[in-house]
Symmetry: C2
Subunit: 235 residues, 2 copies
DNA sequence: CGCGCTAATGCCACTGAGTGGCATAACTGT
DNA sequence: ACAGTTATGCCACTCAGTGGCATTAGCGCG
């Protein structure tokens, strides 16, 4: 068998990839599950690596699958699309965010602030070795790859809709058709993307706390974006 | 030849589809151009019709092309993808918006307001017969079709980046890396999508001025989305 | 320790989107 | 009417994504 080199791949795959979902000690998961996680992580890491060097469209799925010794059929049981595998790191963050929303209690402060803190908390959870590196590769890739960007945007949009459902379920707003909660979520997403953009263009390999900084900056810039004026004679 | 029924299709195709781009009197365009526009419009209309009745994935491109008597090769010279043809109506609006941005002068009022007015002006330009019906079909379709939604989101994102470039070129902001202009654009897009959502779910066939109303509502809800608070004992 | 049970995997064939190349037809201006 | 340009049609091809079915591998139980 080719089992010898099957798992000899860039990073360590024994850590969790479940991000912040069930905070289970996956070291004690059934063997079958751990294998699945290893394979999933292997696919993600090799995808990021090979897409980065040869371009997203420069690599066929067959090639990727060959590199990880997985059948294409199995690939599609783990990822929805070719784009999906390369967007996994960011998706982990948003899943953690949704999870945070489930447990947080309102404290009388603005909803927008609560959402921002949930996102910070989600970021804190991304403790896997090399998570920031993966996100970085993923984002830099997405910038050059329209279809990846599109899938990423849709995922965020979908997530914000799910989050909206959670908000309505947990804290009952007086008016069920109030636009503001939805807008608050969209603003959060917009600011986050802004921050992510900046972070992605930092030199070298920025850290997770760099991202937190960029997020803080974007969040504080948010109110000013509605009031910013340009004086007519500026031209 | 099948030329007899070639253009016998749902709507009138002699009107412009150039939305708000060059405000040319396309009644006096060269014959070749008018034919192209007719074909383009025929593809859009039949696509919307047939996607609506049989579902986006229930229709192959070959079928669509057959219905309009166009080769698949030609289809792809006019549209970037299968999704693209069904998203054309909304794209016209954003192109008109970009065009508005090119000519508008700052008047000392907030940038966000200026952007909103540019979008209103763009909406005013969408005077084609049945534009609202097309947007409606397009949006209702996008709701059920993830890939369409994704392409739509990406197009908006791309447009807002282009707009950002225009802003920086025409009105020189003091700080070139100020996040606020970018955020202002993203908020505009978010509010617009919010409005479009509401509009799409109105009963019957809402009008263009209904959309303007929904947009106004979304824009005015924008500031409140940052300050909205939930009281802790609301649960 | 071995033996079914279940669920994931691999394999194969197939659909359909999207592309490149090249010959042909259709409009253009003179 | 004629030459020049430009879009179109056709053909063959790649590759993402899917369904069905046989095979394998981890799991639990005696």
């Amino acid at each position: 068998m080719a089992l010898a080199r099957k798992w000899r791949l860039p990073l360590g795959y024994d850590q969790a990839m479940t991000a912040g979902l069930p905070p289970t000690d996956n070291g004690r998961l059934p063997l079958r599950e751990r294998k699945k996680l290893r394979m999933r992580q292997a696919l993600i890491d090799t995808a990021l690596e090979v897409f980065t060097t040869r371009g997203f469209s420069g690599v066929t799925l067959d090639e990727l699958c060959d590199a990880v010794d997985v059948s294409k059929r199995t690939f599609f049981r783990n990822f929805a699309s070719k784009e999906d595998v390369a967007m996994a790191p960011t998706q982990d963050l948003w899943r953690a965010f949704l999870d945070e929303l489930e447990t947080r209690e309102p404290d009388g402060r603005p909803l927008a602030e609560m959402l921002q803190q949930a996102l910070f908390a989600a970021l804190e959870r991304m403790t896997e070795e090399g998570w920031n590196r993966r996100v970085l590769l993923s984002r830099r890739l997405a910038e050059k790859t329209p279809s990846m960007d599109a899938h990423g945007l849709r995922f965020c949009h979908e997530t914000s809709r799910t989050a909206l459902g959670t908000l309505h379920r947990r804290l009952h707003f007086p008016a069920p058709d109030d636009l503001r909660p939805q807008l608050a979520l969209d603003l959060l997403v917009a600011a986050f993307h802004c921050a992510l953009d900046r972070w992605t263009h930092r030199p070298d390999t920025p850290t997770r706390s760099d991202l937190a900084t960029d997020m803080r900056n974007a969040f504080t810039a948010l109110p000013g974006s509605l009031t910013l004026t340009v004086n007519p004679q500026a031209r």
